[in-house]
C-alpha cells in the first residue's frame, strides 16, 4: 500500500471529485419532516388498534348494553342461568382433566427424552412435534370414525367380530373429549419441561449427590423444584388451549350432550343472535383464560433461577436397565394413539368407497376427485384458505416486524404499551375473537361481515402475538449498530430496512410466517362464526361436510389440509435454511 493511493482515494479535490449527499448540499431548513418510517409506524399502530383494541372495546360495550342504557343483566343471566353454568362447569372439568393428563404424559416424555438412556428418543420428539401441529378437530373426526358408539370401526369390530362388547368405547363422552384434547395439548408441557430439564446445570445435582443424596432424593429435592415452574406453566398453557378448542368440543361434545363455553357461545348465534349474552359469556371466558395465562407467566418468570446456564448444562443420563423397554413401550403407545391412529384412519377413510370393516375391498380416488374437481364449495374453501393463510401470515409478519422494531429501536413513548397490546390476543379464545369482530364491524357503516376481509382481520388479530414474538426475538439478535452504520452512510430508513435489517432477520421472519400460516390453514374456532358461503374456509368446509354426514370426502379434505401444512413447513424450511420446524414447535402458541 502506498500513501499516494490513500491520498487520491480520500482527499477531496485530489483526483476524485467530492461527492456530497444531496440533502447535505441543499442544507435543508431544520424542521421535522414526515419521513417514511413515521408513516409506516403510524400505520402499524393504527392496524393494531383496529385489529385488537377496538374489537375488544366493542365486546365490552356489547356486554353491558341493555334495552335502556347500561346494565349488567347479561352478566347476571350468564352467571346464573343453568345452561351457562353447565357450560362453564364442563369447560373447567375438561380443562382440569386435560391439564392433568397433559402434565403426566408431557413430564414423563420430557424426563425420558432428556434424562434417561431410553432408545428411540427421536420417535418421542417427533410424536410431540406432530401432535402439536395436527389440527385437533381432524384428530377428533378420526377418533369418531374409530369409536363412535354404533358405527365406530373399533367398536364394531369388538362387538360384532371379536365378541368383546365390554371392550367398546364411547367417544361421545367427557373421557373421549379429554382423550382427543390431550393428544393436542400434552406437547405444551413436554416442550417446556424438556427445555427446563435440559437447562438445569448438572453441577447442582452432582453437588447434592456428593453430599450423599441418592438419585431419587436428588430428583425430588433438587431437580423437581427447579423445573416445577416450567412444568406448571406448560400445564396452564395446556389448560388454556384445551378449553378454547371449538372443533373437538363441537364434534365430540355436542353428540354427547356436553356443552362447553365455545359451543354455548356458538349456539347463541342461532337465529335470533343474542349479541349481549354472547359478549358477556365471551368476557367470562376471557377472564378464565387471562387468569390462567397470568399464572403461567408468573410461574415462567420464576424459571429465571433455573439457570439458563447453557455451557455448564450437561444433564446426567439415568441408566434404567430393563425399565427402559417399558418406557419405550409407553412412547410407542403414545405415538400410535396420537399419530398413527388418527392419520391412518383419515388416510384409509379418504380412499374408501364406504367406511366400515371391509373398507379395503373398495378403494377409490373418487373422494379426492369429488372435493378437488366436482364440488365447488370445497374448491372455493381450499382456495380461500390458501389465500387467507398466505395473506394473513405475510401481513402479520410485516406488522410484527414493524411493532418489534418500534419496541426495540425507538424511544417513542408508549412503545411498551404497543408491545403489550400485541400480546393481548393470546388471552382470547378464537370464538371470542369472532364475537368481538362481529360486534365491531356490524357497527361500522360498511359491510365486512361474511367477507374474506373479516376472516383476514380475525386471523391477523389472533396470531399477531406469534409474529411479534418471532420478529422481536430475531431483532434482538441484530445489534442496532448494524442499522446505524448504514444510516450514517446515507441510507434512508427504507434502504436500511431493505438492505440490512430484513435480510438479517429473514430466518426469524420465515419462522414467524410459518407460525401464523399453520394455525390459520386449520383455523375453525373464529371462522365458524365469520364465514359465509362465498368466504368458506378449509376447516369450516371439513366441519360442515362432517356435520352433513359426508364421511369419506371429509377425510380426503382433511388429508389435503395436512398436505398443505406439510408443504408450508417444507417451503419455509427451504427458504429460511433449516431449523424452522423446531422454532415452530418451540413457541408457546396461542390458544386455538
Amino acid at each position: 500500500m502506498s500513501a499516494d493511493v490513500g491520498r487520491s482515494a480520500i482527499q477531496p479535490g485530489v483526483g476524485t471529485a467530492k461527492i456530497a449527499l444531496q440533502a447535505g448540499a441543499r442544507r435543508p431548513p431544520l424542521r421535522m419532516r414526515p419521513r417514511l418510517e413515521h408513516v409506516v409506524m403510524g400505520a402499524a399502530i393504527a392496524s393494531l388498534v383496529v385489529l385488537v383494541v377496538l374489537p375488544l372495546l366493542s365486546l365490552l360495550i356489547g356486554s353491558v348494553r341493555g334495552e335502556g342504557g347500561l346494565s349488567l343483566d347479561h352478566f347476571g343471566e350468564v352467571l346464573s342461568g343453568r345452561l351457562y353454568l353447565q357450560a362453564l362447569k364442563n369447560s373447567l372439568v375438561l380443562g382440569a382433566w386435560t391439564g392433568l393428563f397433559s402434565l403426566l404424559i408431557g413430564v414423563l416424555m420430557a424426563f425420558v427424552v432428556s434424562r434417561t438412556d431410553v432408545p428411540g428418543k427421536r420417535l418421542l420428539q417427533l410424536t410431540a412435534s406432530l401432535s402439536y401441529l395436527s389440527p385437533p378437530f381432524l384428530t377428533a373426526i378420526a377418533f369418531v370414525y374409530l369409536f363412535s358408539p354404533n358405527a365406530g370401526l373399533v367398536n364394531v369390530f369388538m362387538r360384532d367380530v371379536a365378541g368383546l362388547p365390554w371392550l367398546t368405547f364411547n367417544i361421545f363422552s367427557m373421557a373421549g373429549l379429554v382423550l382427543v384434547t390431550v393428544l393436542h395439548t400434552f406437547p405444551y408441557v413436554y416442550l417446556l419441561a424438556s427445555s427446563a430439564l435440559q437447562s438445569v446445570d448438572a453441577s447442582y445435582e452432582e453437588a447434592a449427590q456428593i453430599l450423599g443424596a441418592s438419585k431419587l432424593r436428588t430428583a425430588i429435592s433438587i431437580t423437581a423444584p427447579l423445573v416445577a415452574p416450567a412444568i406448571l406453566s406448560g400445564t396452564l398453557l395446556a389448560f388454556v388451549n384445551a378449553i378454547a378448542l371449538f372443533g373437538s368440543q363441537a364434534i365430540i361434545g355436542l353428540p354427547g350432550r356436553i356443552v362447553t363455553l365455545p359451543t354455548r357461545i356458538y349456539a347463541l348465534f342461532d337465529y335470533p343472535p343474542e349479541y349481549g349474552l354472547a359478549s358477556a359469556l365471551s368476557l367470562v371466558f376471557v377472564v378464565i383464560t387471562v387468569v390462567a395465562l397470568y399464572l403461567q407467566r408468573a410461574f415462567l418468570a420464576r424459571r429465571s433461577f433455573v439457570t439458563l446456564a447453557g455451557k455448564g448444562a450437561r444433564p446426567q443420563l439415568m441408566e434404567l436397565g430393563p425399565w427402559r423397554w417399558v418406557l419405550l413401550g409407553f412412547g410407542v403407545v403414545v405415538f400410535i394413539v396420537a399419530i398413527i391412529a388418527p392419520y391412518a384412519t383419515l388416510l384409509a377413510v379418504s380412499f374408501s368407497k364406504s367406511w366400515g370393516l371391509d373398507f379395503w375391498k373398495g378403494l377409490t380416488l373418487a373422494n379426492y376427485k369429488f372435493i378437488l374437481f366436482d364440488y365447488n364449495v370445497t374448491q372455493r374453501a381450499i382456495f380461500n384458505s390458501l389465500l387467507l393463510a398466505t395473506l394473513a401470515a405475510t401481513l402479520a409478519v410485516l406488522l410484527g416486524a414493524v411493532i418489534g422494531w418500534i419496541d426495540l429501536r425507538t424511544l417513542i413513548p408508549g412503545r411498551k404499551l404497543l408491545d403489550y397490546a400485541s400480546l393481548v390476543p393470546l388471552g382470547l379464545p378464537g370464538i371470542v375473537v369472532a364475537v368481538a369482530l362481529i360486534q365491531f364491524w356490524l357497527a361500522m357503516p360498511f359491510a365486512l361481515y361474511g367477507t374474506l376481509a373479516i376472516l383476514l382481520l380475525a386471523y391477523i388479530g389472533r396470531y399477531i402475538p406469534l409474529s411479534v414474538r418471532a420478529a422481536n426475538a430475531s431483532l434482538r439478535q441484530v445489534d442496532p449498530s448494524l442499522e446505524e452504520s448504514a444510516q450514517i452512510l446515507g441510507a434512508s430508513w427504507a434502504t436500511t430496512m431493505r438492505e440490512i435489517t430484513l435480510p438479517l432477520i429473514r430466518p426469524g421472519l420465515f419462522a414467524g410466517w410459518l407460525l401464523v400460516f399453520v394455525p390459520v390453514i386449520q383455523e375453525l374456532s373464529a371462522s365458524i362464526l365469520l364465514f359465509s358461503s362465498s368466504s368458506i374456509t378449509l376447516a369450516v368446509a371439513v366441519f360442515n361436510l362432517y356435520e352433513t354426514g359426508y364421511v369419506e370426502p371429509v377425510a380426503a379434505l382433511a388429508m389435503i389440509n395436512m398436505a398443505i401444512i406439510g408443504a408450508a413447513i417444507w417451503l419455509a424450511n427451504r427458504l429460511a435454511g433449516g431449523g424452522i420446524a423446531e422454532k415452530t414447535t418451540g413457541g408457546q402458541g396461542a390458544p386455538s
Partner: protein
C-alpha cells in the same frame, strides 16, 4: 472538511442523572479530538448526539455554519455526511467485504467502474487488498475493524466518529491499529472525533483531548496540557497514576506559595490567585516526578522507607512511606534497585507538581 461547534448541549435518559449536561466544545477542522472519560461519563452519548442518532434536550450542534441538532429537531444521521466506526465493528455479516465497502457509494449512485476503483483504493488504504470476496465471519477482529474503517472512509466523510474502535482488539493489534489510525487521520485531514476510556490511547492519538466526567466537560486541551496541567483532581486522577498529598500553605505571594506536607517536606509551587497562608491545599505529584536516592543523596530530599516494590520490566514501582506517615508511589529506572525496608532519600520535582485547593470544585475547562 468541517469543524463542529457544540454549545450548551444536554441530554438526559429517563429520570436518571443527565448523561450530558451543558457541554460546550469547539472541534476544529482537520483535528483529531478525543472524548476521554470513564464509562458513563457521557462521551458516547456526546458522539451519538453529534451523529444525530439522538436529539438533545438542550443546546445545539453546528457543523461549520450548518445547524444540525437542536432540541426536538435534528438532521437525521443519513443526511449528515459523517462516518462512524463502532466498537463492535458493525460489519454487515450478510455482505462480503466488497459489498460492505461499496454500500455508501451505491447510495451516492456512483458509476460501477468508479465505485470499484474507490473501493479498491479504500481497501488498499487499510491493507485489505485481496479480501474483497470474503464474508465477515471469515475475517479476524482486526480485519473486520479495517473493513469498518474502509467502509466509512470510502465515502470521504468530512467528519469521522469513532466509538472505542480498538477496545475489542488484543493489545498488540491495538497498538498497531493505533499507529495506523493516527497516520490515516494526518494523511486524509478528516476531522476525527474519537471516544475512548483509555488515557494512553488518547494521549498517543489526539490533537486535543476533552476529558469528561459525569456528563460534564472537565478539561479540553492538548495531550500535554491535560497530562501535565490537569484542571482539577478528577482529570489528574484519570490521566494516570498520581500521588495526592494534602498540604498546608505557609506563605503565598505572586501566585507562588510555599507549602508544607509535614515531616519537613516543603515545596515552592505555583498556586491559584487568592490562595493565602493557612489554606489547606492538595498536591498532585506523578510517580515519575519523584526520584529516589540512597540516604543522604538528592537535593532537598526527605527521608522515607521502601514499603513495597514491584518490578514492571521497563520501570520499577515503589511505595515509599515518609516519616509523617504518607505513602508515595514512585517510578524509577529498573536498574535502580531497592529492597523493602531500605531507607531512601526522596526528591520531588516540585516544578511538575500541581496544586488544588483542598475542596476540589469541578471546574469546566476553558
Amino acid at each position: 472538511m468541517a469543524g463542529i461547534t457544540i454549545s450548551g448541549l444536554s441530554k438526559r435518559f429517563g429520570a436518571g442523572d443527565a448523561a450530558v449536561s451543558g457541554l460546550d466544545l469547539v472541534i476544529a477542522n482537520n483535528q483529531f479530538v478525543t472524548l476521554l472519560g470513564p464509562s458513563g461519563c457521557g462521551k458516547t452519548t456526546t458522539l451519538r448526539l453529534i451523529a444525530g442518532y439522538i436529539s438533545p434536550d438542550a443546546g445545539t450542534i453546528h457543523v461549520e455554519e450548518r445547524l444540525v441538532s437542536a432540541p426536538r429537531v435534528v438532521v437525521p444521521p443519513d443526511r449528515r455526511g459523517m462516518g462512524m466506526v463502532f466498537q463492535n465493528y458493525a460489519v454487515w455479516p450478510h455482505k462480503t467485504v466488497y459489498e460492505n465497502v461499496v454500500f455508501g457509494l451505491k447510495l451516492r449512485k456512483l458509476p460501477g467502474a468508479q465505485a470499484r476503483r474507490r473501493v479498491e483504493e479504500a481497501l488498499a488504504l487499510v491493507n485489505l487488498t485481496g479480501l474483497e470476496a470474503r464474508y465477515p465471519n471469515e475475517l479476524s477482529g482486526g480485519q473486520q475493524q479495517r473493513v469498518a474503517l474502509a467502509r466509512s472512509l470510502v465515502v470521504e466523510p468530512e467528519i469521522l466518529l469513532l466509538d472505542e474502535p480498538l477496545s475489542n482488539l488484543d493489545a498488540k493489534l491495538r497498538e498497531r491499529m493505533r499507529a495506523e489510525l493516527k497516520q490515516l487521520q494526518r494523511r486524509t485531514g478528516i476531522t476525527f472525533v474519537y471516544v475512548t476510556h483509555d488515557q494512553a490511547e488518547a494521549l498517543a492519538l489526539s490533537d486535543m483531548i476533552a476529558v469528561m466526567h459525569a456528563g460534564r466537560l472537565q478539561q479540553y486541551g492538548t495531550p500535554h496540557d491535560v497530562y501535565a496541567r490537569p484542571a482539577n483532581r478528577l482529570v489528574a486522577d484519570f490521566m494516570g497514576l498520581v500521588n495526592l498529598v494534602p498540604c498546608k500553605v505557609l506563605s503565598a505571594a505572586n501566585g507562588v506559595a510555599t507549602v508544607d506536607a509535614g515531616a519537613g517536606l516543603r515545596f515552592d509551587i505555583a498556586v491559584a490567585s487568592g490562595t493565602s497562608a493557612g489554606n489547606a491545599v492538595e498536591l498532585v505529584i506523578r510517580p515519575e516526578n519523584i526520584r529516589l536516592h540512597a540516604p543522604g543523596g538528592g537535593n532537598g530530599a526527605t527521608v522515607g522507607r521502601i514499603a513495597d516494590s514491584t518490578f514492571l520490566g521497563n520501570i520499577s514501582e515503589y511505595v515509599v512511606t515518609l516519616a509523617a506517615g504518607q505513602s508515595l508511589r514512585v517510578q524509577t529506572h529498573p536498574r535502580q534497585r531497592f529492597a523493602v525496608g531500605d531507607a531512601v532519600a526522596v526528591e520531588v520535582d516540585a516544578g511538575q507538581a500541581v496544586c488544588f485547593a483542598g475542596h476540589d470544585r469541578h471546574r469546566a475547562g476553558q
